[in-house]
Amino acid sequence: MGNFVEGLTYNFLGAGAPPTREERIGACHAFCGSCRQLSENIKSGCANLSDRKFSQSGGCQLMLAVGIVSSLSNVVMIIHSPLGCCSGFVGSGGLRKTMRASKGKKDEDFVWLHTNLDELDVVQGGIDKLKRAILYAEKEYHPEAIIIANGCVPGIIGDDIDSLVTELSDTISAKIVPVHCEGFKSKYVASGYDSAYHGVLKHLLNPAEIYDNILPRASEDRDDKERNRISRTINIFNVGSNSFGDEAELSRLVSALGLIPKVLPLHASLDELAHIGEAALNVSICATHDDYLLGHLKERFGTEYLIDTLPIGIRNTNQWIRLIAERFHLEDEAERLITLETKQLQEALEPLKAALKGKKIFVGGGETRILTTAEFFYSLGMELVGVKAHNVDRFVENILDDMENQELVIEVAAGQPAEELNILNRLKPDIYIGHLNANGWVSKLGIPNFPLFGQQLNFMGYSGAFELARKAVKILKNTNFVKNVSANVKLPLSDEWFLRDPKDNIKEAAIY
């Protein structure tokens, strides 16, 4: 899998902000067609040069960036922007609470501030206000870190946040972390992950100092033990769409190989982050999220990393285990584990397969997650009629090439429900699995559906595979909700649009 990251470098900390995904990786965000055509377009470079005539609102890299850093323990967030950016915090405080509870972490109030930029600030700059907000956060809450995420306005008017951070960092005890994530900078919201990790890497990863022990040999003994522990430790990099169930299952599998799993960096304390370098292997479960982080950690701490598939479904979980085991020469152990687990799982899945066999399925969401989820349902005997990816980049090229049905419908779009509903209306799947904010529209179209991730859902590993199958069966046990909704609630799309080919909406980008 070395080829995924071939040619990528990760030494950008000298800069205030990381390069955008457009610059760093290159990706396709607008495509309608078959897997084969998309593969060809990626290889020829055309895929990255398309855009839409009619576009709908998608994500903003700011949201994804704050999604990462706001999960850390004992931090205060400052949103340097007018009141709208991250106003969603007013509705998500409870989710942070339940997530922390599910992980057995101490409940803590989530505190955020808005600098509340107004017209005058647009003219005069907002740095003074930001300074007052930082000092307020320090005085009122004395958090371990104050994280500043800035919206578009400071980016356009040129507020120099980094200089302010330098000025204040010696005068207050909290670490100040600027995260530069202006929404207009990138059409690939995943750039926000890089922005967040850039800030974390630059300002929060300070390895804990180790002091010599005064007793004879004690330091050496301790260091030996530490080296031994580290040589068996792997960091599993969690993402916002993980549930605690996923983390528990992946940790179980890694432990079964005799390795020590640590789950990072979401919801971690700064102390846990300080020890991030103490591992023999860093394992990504989603390339879209963390190649920037893992690539950098390799350059900084020399920790090897694994960026491959997402452990969803049987085949990809097996592959994930094998690739980890290989690094530790635990191939035999891995095979024994896989044999045992798949046997038990297959037996459990048998009664569920009957209900799913031959049913049509469509999956939409993040590129790796949808392709692995689709593969799993296909393996259960369902008919895969199409997939929709937020964007497509080098990390799934080989999965695309491996798709058995090269004519499979694939749409590349972040959001864009008009195109998606048009496609779904043609394909008429029996069940749809989709990303947050997509499923409501699909319900209004009358297609039974369930979410692609969720705090309460276990998707990953073998237990996740069983839960996924169980959920699909459950959804089909009564489809009246979507039937009633679609019969009585109107979509805003014109009748004419449903007759048009959604491909016509894709155009060549005016300026890349």
């Binding site: 009619f54 903003c60 509705g91 998500s92 647009v122 578009c152 904010n437």
Partner: protein, 444 residues
């Protein structure tokens, strides 16, 4: 100049515009901004307004020009034009409203001019960059646009027709239930109420709002700009009123409107008597349990100015709770604060509340602690309890910290689902009692 705010209970002007448009019947926003603004802001109200949903064409369905860095350099007006053209073909609506984000306003795109080119195709436009201010600014921008572009001139006024302003969809989590109840009560008194966002409205109906003879504005922070414009363009005067919650507030409201519209006193009297009788016939049900286990509480209210006084008055004058502290987070002007304080003179409870103006949500806990003698671990301590916090979702941790009961009413509300219910009027008063007392018996 606006100062930084800790845990602001607002979105920006664009957010206010979008939640307002989502409340309009068959209206579609077209957002000239970066790709994420529209869905994110719409989603704020989806989740924090009692799971109101994104609406007819909200969330990821919102057409957006999706401008990025090169548009910041070269301008985005052409992109907006292209987006409007395709939106007209793909989306089905009675009104398309072009609104703008910060990025395009800073670079100087003229979105309103571009939208004027499509005026014959039901397209209108206004400027709503986030830095213009909070949710209320966006509400007024959109309503003012309707007043200018949609509402037709009507020299002939209808004596007993009123327009309702100041109830901001989504920001008032219960806006639709509230509007429907206000409309019902006014109808009983022989008055037709135009609500913009209530049940059975349409863009066609809104175009006839110029016939009203009075505008009632239920907020001092939202709707006044619109009312002034209605006065200027359509020659309709306005009055300010408090959202009527429960019997005493509603009675005062109906008498007031009766006086303004010169309604038959007997009719108004009958409506009040009938409704009050029904109210107490239901309230009677909880009298036993209320008295048997003492459901009287010290009330701490934390809300915007729209709800703060209305709720405090209900709790003090109708329910008989002890108004202890009321915190208001959306009035910044000193004069306006003084005027707002005067409202509380109407409280009939033996105890009067302390009123504070505090925009930082985290400071309310400190204020509560300051408001009561500190527990010195003495043998006999007269504690602030049993207490109950009626606030927004943000105050849940305040309630937990001081061991008080809790109900979220003011925006944001994300721990309950709100469909048709409202707290306005007599029916709303009953609903509020149900919701408050339910919290007290929920563990039984």
């Amino acid at each position: 100049m606006a100062e930084f705010i800790e845990r602001a209970k607002f979105s920006c002007a664009l957010g206010g515009a979008l939640t307002t448009i989502a409340g309009l019947p068959r209206a579609v926003p077209i957002v000239h901004a970066s790709g994420g603004c529209a869905a994110a802001l719409s989603n704020t109200y989806n989740l924090a307004s009692g799971y109101r949903g994104t609406g007819y064409c909200g969330g990821t369905m919102i057409p957006t020009t999706n401008i990025s860095e090169n548009n910041i350099v070269f301008g985005g007006e052409d992109r907006l034009k292209e987006q409007i053209e395709h939106s007209l073909e793909i989306l089905d609506a009675d009104l398309y409203i072009v609104v703008t984000g910060c990025q395009v306003e800073i670079i100087g795109d003229d979105a309103v001019s571009v939208s004027r080119q499509f005026r014959d195709k039901k397209v209108v436009g206004t400027n709503t960059p986030g830095f213009l201010g909070n949710t209320f600014k966006g509400y007024d921008s959109v309503v003012k646009l309707l007043i200018k572009e949609v509402i037709k001139q009507a020299p002939q006024k209808e004596e007993k027709t009123v327009n309702i302003l100041g109830i901001v969809p989504g920001h008032d989590v219960f806006y639709r239930g509230n509007l429907d109840e206000i409309k019902r009560l006014l109808n009983l008194a022989g008055v037709k109420a135009n609500t913009f966002f209530g049940t059975d409205e349409s863009i066609d109906a809104i175009s006839e709002y110029g016939k009203a003879s009075l505008n009632i504005v239920f907020s001092e922070q939202a709707g006044i700009e619109s009312a002034e414009l209605l006065k200027e363009i359509h020659n309709i005067p306005y009055v300010l009123a408090d959202i009527p919650v429960g019997p005493s507030g509603t009675e005062e409201f109906l008498r007031r409107i009766g006086r303004e519209l010169l309604l038959d006193k007997e009719v108004v009297f009958r409506v009040i008597e009938d409704e009050k009788r029904i109210y107490y016939s239901y309230l009677e049900r909880i009298v036993d349990i209320y008295s048997d286990i003492d459901f009287q509480r010290y009330a701490i209210v934390a809300a915007d100015s729209y709800y703060a006084y209305a709720l405090t008055r209900f709790l003090a004058n109708d329910l008989g709770w002890i108004p202890h502290l009321t915190a208001i987070h959306d009035i910044y002007d000193e004069e306006a604060r003084k005027l707002y304080l005067k409202k509380f003179d109407t409280l009939t409870s033996e105890t009067k509340p302390e009123i504070i103006f505090e925009e930082h949500a985290g400071s309310i806990l400190k204020e509560v602690r300051k408001s009561w003698p500190y527990n010195q671990n003495q043998k006999y301590y007269d504690a602030l309890g049993p207490a109950f916090v009626v606030g927004s979702g943000i105050e849940r941790s305040l309630a937990e910290t001081i061991g008080a009961g809790f109900l979220a009413v003011s925006f944001p509300v994300s721990n309950r689902v709100v469909l048709s219910k409202g707290y306005a009027g007599y029916r709303g008063g009953l609903t509020l009692v149900e919701d408050l007392i339910t919290q007290l018996v929920a563990a039984r």
